[in-house]
């Protein structure tokens, strides 16, 4: 097991190096110059060349790359924003709890709805409840989350005089007020993500319910509740868990839009604002941090499979 873990971690390193190269070269090779905008529009420095020099953009690209990666590896320094001159890591760490909370609540909402509807749909296969559940899942799959978010922001304010709370309150200051703010975006995002979870829950549970040990459980005279919840559910959860793992990047990507619509000061909004200001160091470093988290998460998921199923370790 130890050897397997080491090998998998070692394999992640070249991936991360490639990730950093892709992000860096993308930012350098493409047209669009922030320096001109900073000097002409906002007078950050007397001349374009002076600002270029100040930001270190006059040196060769490979030096800039080495400096960027070197700073991260040696000092944990992800660089600073062109515009605010604030360290990127500080800003990221400060905003991360918002995004983490949003993602956690979203996953919670989608898992609770998806699994509950999935179970009912599978246990009551081909009844009205099943059809209603499946139609709901298809609807959830079809309605884009940002469309639903816009409708939730706009329509109730016109017809019920209700609006989402626009001023953000951190969880640590007032947990209740914070949850009140977070629950609407989490519900909107979670509901649209529940569709795939429900579908895979239903098909996995249907498959498990046809197996021999379930028939044995029935013949022992167990109640339906005990059979479904105690015996079948656990085995049917494996594909559901791996689907949630696979969808993690979607939750992160989607949080950019959700945070922008509901004005939550999370990493997504930070990224989006940096993007509109062509703040390359921020865009570059946030991409790298998030990609690293995705790689680490995938690694953890892979390792957990190996932990659960010894056959994988020896492949």
């Amino acid at each position: 097991m130890k050897q397997y873990v080491l090998r998998r971690v070692a394999l992640a390193v070249p991936t991360l190096v490639l990730v950093s190269v892709i992000v860096f070269s993308m930012m350098r090779l493409m047209p669009g110059d922030v320096v001109i905008r900073m000097v002409e529009g906002h007078a950050y420095a007397p001349t374009i060349d002076a600002l270029r020099k100040e930001l270190g953009l006059d040196r060769p690209a490979y030096l800039q790359y080495v400096e960027w990666v070197g700073g991260i590896v040696l000092r944990g320094d992800f660089g600073e924003s062109y515009w605010t001159r604030q360290p990127i890591l500080d800003e990221f760490v400060g905003r991360f709890p918002v995004t983490l909370e949003l993602a956690t609540l979203t996953i919670l909402v989608s898992v609770v709805i998806g699994i509950a509807v999935g179970i009912v749909s599978a246990v009551r296969q081909d009844t009205v409840a099943d059809y209603v559940g499946r139609v709901l899942a298809i609807l959830a799959l079809s309605v884009p989350y940002f469309g639903l978010a816009v409708l939730v922001v706009v329509l109730p304010s016109i017809y019920f005089r209700w609006t989402p709370v626009w001023t953000y309150v951190p969880f640590t200051t007032d947990p209740l007020a914070n949850l009140k703010i977070m629950i609407v975006p989490a519900l909107v995002f979670g509901v649209t993500r529940a569709g795939p979870i429900m579908r895979i829950m239903r098909s996995a549970l249907l498959e498990v319910l046809r197996q021999d040990y379930i028939r044995t459980a029935w013949s022992k005279g167990l109640t339906e509740r005990a059979i479904v919840l105690r015996h079948a559910l656990k085995n049917a959860m494996v594909p559901v868990v791996s689907l949630i793992g696979l969808q993690m990047p979607l939750y992160i990507g989607g949080s950019v839009i959700i945070e922008a619509i509901f004005r939550l000061p999370g990493v997504g909004l930070f990224f989006f604002e940096a993007l509109t200001r062509l703040d390359y160091p921020v865009v570059q470093s946030v991409n790298l941090i998030v990609a690293t988290m995705v790689v680490a998460l995938n690694l953890l998921i892979d390792l957990s499979y190996a932990f659960l199923d010894p056959r994988i370790r020896y492949r």
């Binding site: 992000v23 493409m30 047209p31 669009g32 799959l141 469309g147 816009v150 993007l275 062509l278 946030v286």
Partner: protein
């Protein structure tokens, strides 16, 4: 390989007549056996649609929606008398009426007209990106699988690195640098689609590579190009069709999210994502139909492509079920 038996239903199959191994190399004689198709068998590409009509009601509904969208896109010019960027400042924020069936927006443009033309852009970007991406995925996937070894290893690590980025983040980054335009978004979405799906194509090609008919083709002296094009490609094709149809809804949705953020298709071209637009949120309090109709159109399109894709997947490639 269901499709290979189908495709070769009328083709000729070559069988090398066995010769004792000790005998001096005689020129291999070929016996041509013609495998005749059973009467009343339709070619597989017709068969799929007939089966769908019979057994997949939701897939049929999806197909009809897609057809409707195609018609809207093609006939947008003659279905409406307004231009998609024709402003009329006297008729701003008009609710649904006889003249403007779905109302007008903040510049007095007809919403229905913009929805119809929006179908055109959605399909243009969707089909463009998916065809480009499918070509890339096919080339990359087959090449990587067929070549194998170190090339495969290196290519797959590069694909790993690309897949580590949450899709939307990297697409937003690239598009903000390139600037919004229809061509840029099509290229970028196509690139992303291609890299991502090359994995699936590679997987299928890897298993095809091991079949004995590939070995016999090689024994008959076929070169790499001939083997990949005439033996591997036709067997990967159903997978590619499935990947492409199921991918269309994702691509259309991604284009909409990017246009929603103002990074996709630039104004004045109408797109459903752009009509929902983050920047135009303030207008929607005054005219909720500006939010309702594009959202509905987008949901319908995604629903249609999803259902059509799912049905085609079930009928064409059972291996991908649940994938």
């Amino acid at each position: 390989m269901r499709s290979s038996t189908r495709a070769s239903a009328t083709a000729k199959r070559y069988v090398a007549e066995e010769a004792p191994p000790s005998v001096a190399p005689a020129p291999a004689r070929l016996v041509v056996v013609e495998v005749r198709a059973l009467p009343r068998t339709r070619p597989w590409y017709t068969d799929v649609w007939v089966t769908m009509l019979r057994r997949k009601p939701l897939g049929t509904v999806g197909g009809l929606i897609v057809l409707g969208m195609l018609l809207a896109a093609l006939l947008a010019d003659s279905l409406t008398s307004y231009g998609f960027s024709e402003t009329n400042l006297r008729e701003r924020f008009i609710a649904a009426s006889g003249d403007h069936w779905l109302g007008t927006d903040q510049l007095g443009r007809d919403v229905l007209t913009r929805i119809l033309y929006g179908a055109r852009i959605s399909l243009y970007v969707g089909f463009g990106a998916v065809s480009l991406g499918s070509l890339l995925a096919t080339a990359l996937g087959i090449f990587s699988a067929y070549w194998g070894g170190r090339v495969d290893l290196l290519l797959q690590r590069a694909v790993d690195a690309w897949m580590a980025f949450p899709g939307l983040l990297i697409l937003m980054s690239i598009l903000s640098l390139l600037g919004p335009s229809v061509l840029n978004i099509t290229l970028v979405l196509g690139l992303a689609f291609g890299i991502q799906n090359s994995r699936i194509v590679r997987g299928v090609a890897l298993s095809i590579k091991e079949h004995t008919y590939i070995e016999s083709a090689r024994a008959l002296g076929s070169g790499h190009a001939r083997i990949t094009v005439t033996h591997v490609l036709p067997n990967v094709l159903p997978t590619i069709i499935v990947v492409a149809t199921t991918g269309l809804s994702t691509v259309i949705l991604t284009e909409a999210s990017l246009s929603f953020l103002g990074l996709g298709v630039p104004p004045p071209y109408p797109t459903w994502g752009g009509m929902l637009s983050l920047a135009g949120l303030d207008h929607m309090y005054r005219a909720p139909w500006l939010a309702v109709w594009p959202a509905t159109a987008l949901s319908l399109a995604v629903f249609g492509f999803n259902m059509l894709g799912d049905a085609l997947r079930d009928l064409l490639d059972p291996r991908l079920r649940g994938g």
